[in-house]
C-alpha cells in the first residue's frame, strides 16, 4: 500500500515536471533520451574507429597528442608507426576530396587540379606531415567525422551552402593567385552572412613547421562555429561581432562553444598544443587554451571579464576559456554519473541550449538556456549543479541591483577617406563613417555587469554599421573612455553613416545611444545629426 501511494505520488510528480510549457517532452524519461542518441556512431567515434570509405593513414589528432606517440618525435619511423587508418566516407569525385557539401582545397576555391589530392592517391598524400596534401586528407577526415558526431547527438548541420576548406589559404580565398599567401598563423571560419550566393569557408593560414592543417582540433574548432550557426539557425547570436564589435559576451560564447566541441570530441579538455609550438609566447607543451583548470587567471570570472582602464575591454578568448571551464565542470559531472554516456548527454544538453539563444546573447542568457535545456532533456537533474558551477567560477549572474543609471557622454566624430588617407571630418553626410567619442561612468558603489553601448534608431536616414559594443563589467566608481583623433582610436566605439536619400527632405536624423547593463537602470541619450 505504502508502495502504491509512493508510485502514485511519483507518477504525479513526473506528470508535473513534464507538463509545464517547454519542459513537456514526448519522449519523457532519461532512458528514452539516451536511446535517441546514435550510440554506436558515438562509441566508434570515441575510439577513433572510422571504417567507412577509402582508407587513409593519419596521425590523429596530431603528432604531439597522438596516443601512439609517447613523446614528441618527428623521426620518419616514429611518424609512420603513429599513423592509423581512418576511412573517408562520402567522397564523390575523382579529382579532389569532395562531396556535394564539403570541398577541400589548398589556397583558394579555384585551385588547379595538380594541387589537389585525388581519392586514388591517399597513401602517397600522407607520407609527409608538412605537405599540404597531408592537410587536405586531415581536413576531409576531420570535418566529416565531427559532422557525423554532432548528427549522432541529434543535431543537423546547415548544408544550404557548400563548405570550402582551404588548408593553406590565400587572404582572399576567391582569388587563385598564390602571391597573396598570408604570413599569419591562424584559422578562420567565415559564414558569409551578407553574401548569400557565396559558400562558407574554413581558412587555415601559415606555411609553418607545425602546420595547423595537420591538427584535427583546428578543424573541429572552426567547424564548431558553423555548428553554432546551424543550431541557432543563423539567428545572429553574435550579430554584433559579425558587424565588427571588438568584444561582446556573445562573441566569447561562440568561441567557447567552438573550443568545447573540439575539447569534448577529442576528450582532451584542451586545444591547440600542436599549433602553439609555432608561437614563442606559449611555453613548450602548453596548449593554446584549456577547458581543464590550469594554474592561471582563467578560472575566475572577475579576472577575465572586468573592464580595466589600462587594458581596455576584456579579451574575448579569455572569457571564452573561462566559459569552457564551466562547461568542462558540467561535462565532468555528467561523466561521473555515467562513464559510458555521460559526456554525450552533456554535449547534447550544452548544444541544445545554443538553440535557445537570442540575437546578441549574454552569458546570463547562456546560463539560463543551459538550465532550461537540462530541464527539458534531463528532467532538470543538473539544475543545481549547473547553477553552482557558475557560482564557484565566480559568475555574479546579473549582479547586485544598482540604484543609479550609468552616466553617458557622447560626441560624434566623422571620418572620410581621401587619397588613401583617413581624415577626421564634420559628422554629417560627407563622412564615410561617424563614430562616437564616449565616456561611460558607474556612479554606484557596486560593479555594473556586462556594460553595453548601442545605437537605437528607426530612422532609415541612420545606417548603423557597428551598432553594439560591450565593455565587460565596470567596477563601482570606474569609467570607460573611448576618444582620440584617429580612426583606430574608435574601434571600441559604435558607428553609423547617414543616408540623405532616406530622410525624405528632413534636415536632421535622429537616434539614441543607449547604455545598458544587467543590473543598473538603462541610460538613453537622444542625439541628432545634420544631414
Amino acid at each position: 500500500m505504502k508502495l502504491h501511494l509512493a508510485h502514485t505520488a511519483l507518477f504525479l510528480v513526473s506528470l508535473l515536471t513534464t507538463g509545464c510549457g517547454m519542459r513537456r517532452s514526448h519522449s519523457g524519461g532519461l532512458e528514452i533520451n539516451v536511446q535517441a542518441l546514435n550510440l554506436q556512431t558515438l562509441r566508434d567515434f570515441r575510439l577513433d574507429r572510422f571504417s567507412q570509405g577509402p582508407q587513409a593513414y593519419l596521425v590523429i589528432p596530431n603528432p604531439i597528442d597522438s596516443p601512439q606517440l609517447k613523446a614528441f618525435d618527428f623521426s620518419p619511423s616514429a611518424f609512420q608507426h603513429a599513423q592509423v587508418a581512418v576511412g573517408l566516407p562520402g567522397l564523390q569525385t575523382y579529382s579532389a576530396l569532395d562531396n556535394s557539401f564539403l570541398k577541400i582545397r589548398v589556397h583558394s576555391q579555384f585551385d588547379s587540379s595538380d594541387l589537389l589530392v585525388k581519392p586514388q592517391e591517399l597513401t602517397s598524400a600522407t607520407s609527409n606531415i608538412q605537405d599540404p596534401k597531408y592537410s587536405q586528407v586531415m581536413a576531409y577526415h576531420a570535418v566529416s567525422s565531427i559532422s557525423d558526431y554532432v548528427k549522432a547527438l541529434g543535431f543537423s548541420i546547415d548544408q544550404s551552402r557548400q563548405l570550402y576548406v582551404m588548408v593553406r589559404s590565400n587572404t582572399n580565398p576567391e582569388q587563385s593567385t598564390t602571391s597573396q599567401t598570408s604570413q599569419e598563423i591562424n584559422a578562420y571560419y567565415v559564414h558569409n552572412t551578407l553574401q548569400p550566393q557565396k559558400p562558407r569557408y574554413i581558412q587555415l593560414f601559415g606555411d609553418v613547421q607545425y602546420p595547423l592543417g595537420a591538427d584535427r582540433d583546428v578543424y573541429w574548432h572552426e567547424f564548431g562555429h558553423l555548428f553554432n550557426e546551424s543550431i541557432s539557425a543563423s539567428r545572429g547570436i553574435d550579430d554584433a561581432g559579425e558587424k565588427g564589435a571588438a568584444f561582446t559576451e556573445a562573441g566569447a560564447i561562440h568561441e567557447c562553444l567552438a573550443d568545447y566541441l573540439s575539447e569534448t570530441a577529442s576528450q582532451k579538455g584542451y586545444i591547440g598544443r600542436w599549433a602553439a609550438r609555432n608561437l614563442s609566447d606559449i611555453k613548450p607543451n602548453y596548449p593554446l587554451r584549456a577547458a581543464l583548470s590550469l594554474n592561471d587567471s582563467k578560472n575566475r570570472f572577475s579576472s577575465v571579464a572586468t573592464y580595466q582602464t589600462s587594458q581596455g575591454v576584456p579579451e574575448k578568448y579569455d572569457v571564452a576559456e573561462w566559459c569552457t571551464r564551466v562547461l568542462w565542470d558540467i561535462r565532468s559531472q555528467f561523466e561521473k554519473e555515467n562513464k559510458e554516456t555521460g559526456a554525450f548527454l552533456s554535449d547534447r544538453t550544452i548544444f541544445a541550449a545554443v538553440g535557445m539563444l537570442k540575437k546578441n546573447a549574454s552569458l546570463v542568457d547562456f546560463k539560463n538556456a543551459l538550465l532550461d535545456s537540462d530541464k527539458s532533456l534531463n528532467q532538470g537533474s543538473h539544475v543545481s549543479f549547473i547553477s553552482n558551477v557558475f557560482l564557484t567560477r565566480g559568475f555574479p549572474d546579473r549582479g547586485t541591483p544598482l540604484g543609479q543609471p550609468l552616466r553617458l557622454q557622447a560626441t560624434a566624430v566623422g571620418f572620410k577617406e581621401f587619397n588613401n588617407q583617413i581624415y577626421s571630418v564634420t559628422p554629417n553626410t560627407s563622412a564615410d563613417e561617424i563614430f562616437f567619442s564616449i565616456a561611460i561612468s558607474n556612479p554606484n558603489s557596486g560593479t555594473a555587469r556586462n556594460v553595453r553601448a548601442q545605437i537605437v534608431s528607426s530612422d532609415p536616414a541612420v545606417i548603423p554599421y557597428v551598432d553594439f559594443q560591450a565593455y565587460g563589467d565596470l567596477a563601482g566608481g570606474a569609467s570607460i573612455r573611448i576618444t582620440g583623433t584617429q580612426y583606430k582610436d574608435f574601434l571600441n566605439s559604435v558607428s553609423l553613416a547617414l543616408d540623405k536619400r532616406a530622410a525624405s527632405g528632413r534636415a536632421r536624423a535622429r537616434f539614441y545611444l543607449k547604455v545598458s547593463s544587467e543590473n543598473a537602470p538603462e541610460t538613453t541619450l537622444p542625439l541628432e545629426l545634420g544631414l
Partner: protein, 198 residues
C-alpha cells in the same frame, strides 16, 4: 501518510494550471489553424486544401520561398527566406520553432509584402563597373553584378538593390570586410567584419 493525500490534489491543480502554459505556447499554431479554416472556403470551396506558407503569411506571388530546417534534440527550427527573380532578400524571414512533439512554440515573422523591384541586368552591369572604377575608401575588386541582393531596412517601405561583395577597407587594410553597396549610388548599407578565429 495523510499528508501525501493532501499533496496529490495540490499537484493536480498545479498540473492543470501548467497545462494552460502549454496552450499559450501553442498559440501561433492556433492562429495558423484559424487562418487555415478562414482561407479554405475562399480558395477551395469544394476541396479541403492545406494552405501553403505563402497563403498563411500573405507572401506576394513574385517572392520565392526557400525553406531550411534545423533539428535539435529539443525540436526543430524552420526558416523561410525569400528571393525575387532569384535575387536573395536580406532583412526579412520567418522562423518557426517546433518542440520535439511538433507543437509550435515560437514564431518570428519579419516578412513584408514589399513591391516587386525591377531588375535590369544591363543597368546593373554598368553600375557595378562604375562603382569598381571609383577610388574611394573601399577597394572593390571582387564586386560583380551577379552578387546582387535586395535589402529591406527598418523605416523604409520598399527594398533596395545592393551588391554584396568582399572588399579591402583602406582604414583597416588587414581586416577582410564584406559590404552591401546600394547599386545606384554606392552607399554602404551594411558592413561585416565577420570571421571567427582559432
Amino acid at each position: 501518510m495523510k499528508k501525501f493525500w493532501l499533496i496529490i490534489p495540490i499537484f493536480l491543480v498545479w498540473f492543470l494550471s501548467s497545462e494552460k502554459q502549454v496552450e499559450s505556447f501553442s498559440k501561433p499554431s492556433e492562429s495558423v489553424l484559424q487562418k487555415e479554416t478562414a482561407l479554405s472556403p475562399e480558395t477551395q470551396p469544394t476541396q479541403e486544401k492545406t494552405p501553403t506558407p505563402s497563403e498563411w503569411w500573405g507572401v506576394q506571388r513574385y517572392h520565392e520561398i526557400q525553406t531550411e530546417s534545423f533539428d535539435s534534440p529539443l525540436g526543430r527550427t524552420l526558416v523561410y527566406s525569400f528571393s525575387q527573380n532569384g535575387v536573395p532578400i536580406i532583412g526579412m524571414n520567418i522562423r518557426l520553432k517546433e518542440r520535439s512533439d511538433g507543437a509550435l512554440i515560437e514564431e518570428e515573422n519579419s516578412y513584408r509584402p514589399i513591391s516587386e523591384i525591377p531588375i535590369h541586368r544591363n543597368v546593373l552591369e554598368e553600375q557595378a563597373t562604375h562603382l569598381k572604377s571609383q577610388s574611394g575608401r573601399y577597394q572593390l575588386d571582387g564586386l560583380t553584378a551577379d552578387s546582387l541582393v535586395i535589402l529591406v531596412r527598418e523605416g523604409l517601405k520598399e527594398g533596395e538593390l545592393a551588391f554584396a561583395t568582399s572588399a579591402v577597407d583602406k582604414a583597416r587594410p588587414g581586416v577582410p570586410t564584406q559590404l552591401l553597396i546600394r547599386s545606384d549610388d554606392g552607399k554602404i548599407l551594411r558592413k561585416s567584419l565577420g570571421r571567427k578565429e582559432f
